[in-house]
Subunit: 139 residues, 2 copies
């Protein structure tokens, strides 16, 4: 992804544009399989050897708050991040740490319809994420 676009994404959210933010946002996009902070640090070190670890965590938090990336939960004790904002679900591998995207507009529609009819009392739904747990044949 080119710098123009990265700058634009930050600017759209009214965020100050800094090299660190651009590098970290780009890393989340490039490392497309839900990278950890660790993965991101390793990646950006290649081009930005002196970015502080604390900065990476801070920037990731800020990017999440501003809706430029999302957190992906795992049953391990570290966080993972996702640069894909459009609604999608996740295939979690039971054998390894692989989390694959599962895009399915038909499923989204099905869920949306289902919960429109069936409204949950006392709760206002913002979004769904279906965790699909299982194993990949390749694993």
């Amino acid at each position: 992804m080119d710098n123009k676009l990265l700058k634009q994404k930050l600017a759209e959210k009214g965020m100050k544009i800094t090299p660190q933010r651009m590098a970290i946002l780009e890393a989340v996009y490039e490392l497309n399989n839900h990278p950890t902070a660790e993965n991101i640090i390793e990646f950006i070190r290649k081009t930005h050897p002196n970015v502080a670890i604390g900065t990476v965590y801070k920037v990731l938090e800020t990017l999440v708050e501003n809706g430029l990336i999302k957190k992906v939960t795992t049953d391990r004790n570290f966080m993972r991040y996702d640069g894909i904002l459009e609604s999608h679900h996740h295939l979690y591998c039971s054998n390894c740490d692989l989390i694959e995207d599962y895009h399915d507009a038909e499923l989204d529609e099905l869920l949306k319809k289902y919960f429109e009819s069936k409204n949950i009392s006392g709760f206002k739904i913002e979004e769904f994420v279906l965790q699909i747990k299982g194993t990949f044949n390749k694993c």
Copy 2:
């Protein structure tokens, strides 16, 4: 839950029966809103003041491995646990740390049917967990 039943559950899995394991398993059942290790430690301290923290983590891991409890993922940096084994989904509150169970056999059936028709190539599904994010009116 009485001791007989707790013992039985451990025995069914071929696990050695210890007071610590019984207390921790009972705590997960009693603290029914997806307790953290911290919550569990606090709870069992009332009756078992000298259980080591390391033991709690170890036992929780063992209970998960043996399929007596499940982990519940959050976007915070600690794990939560669930004593309810039957398929169900979760309402995550965006305002606080509340995670409420959402049981819905109709939805389970819908998902099962949907993924039977639509099979995901190269992936064998074991279970679904739908994360329903939003806000409770009371929050």
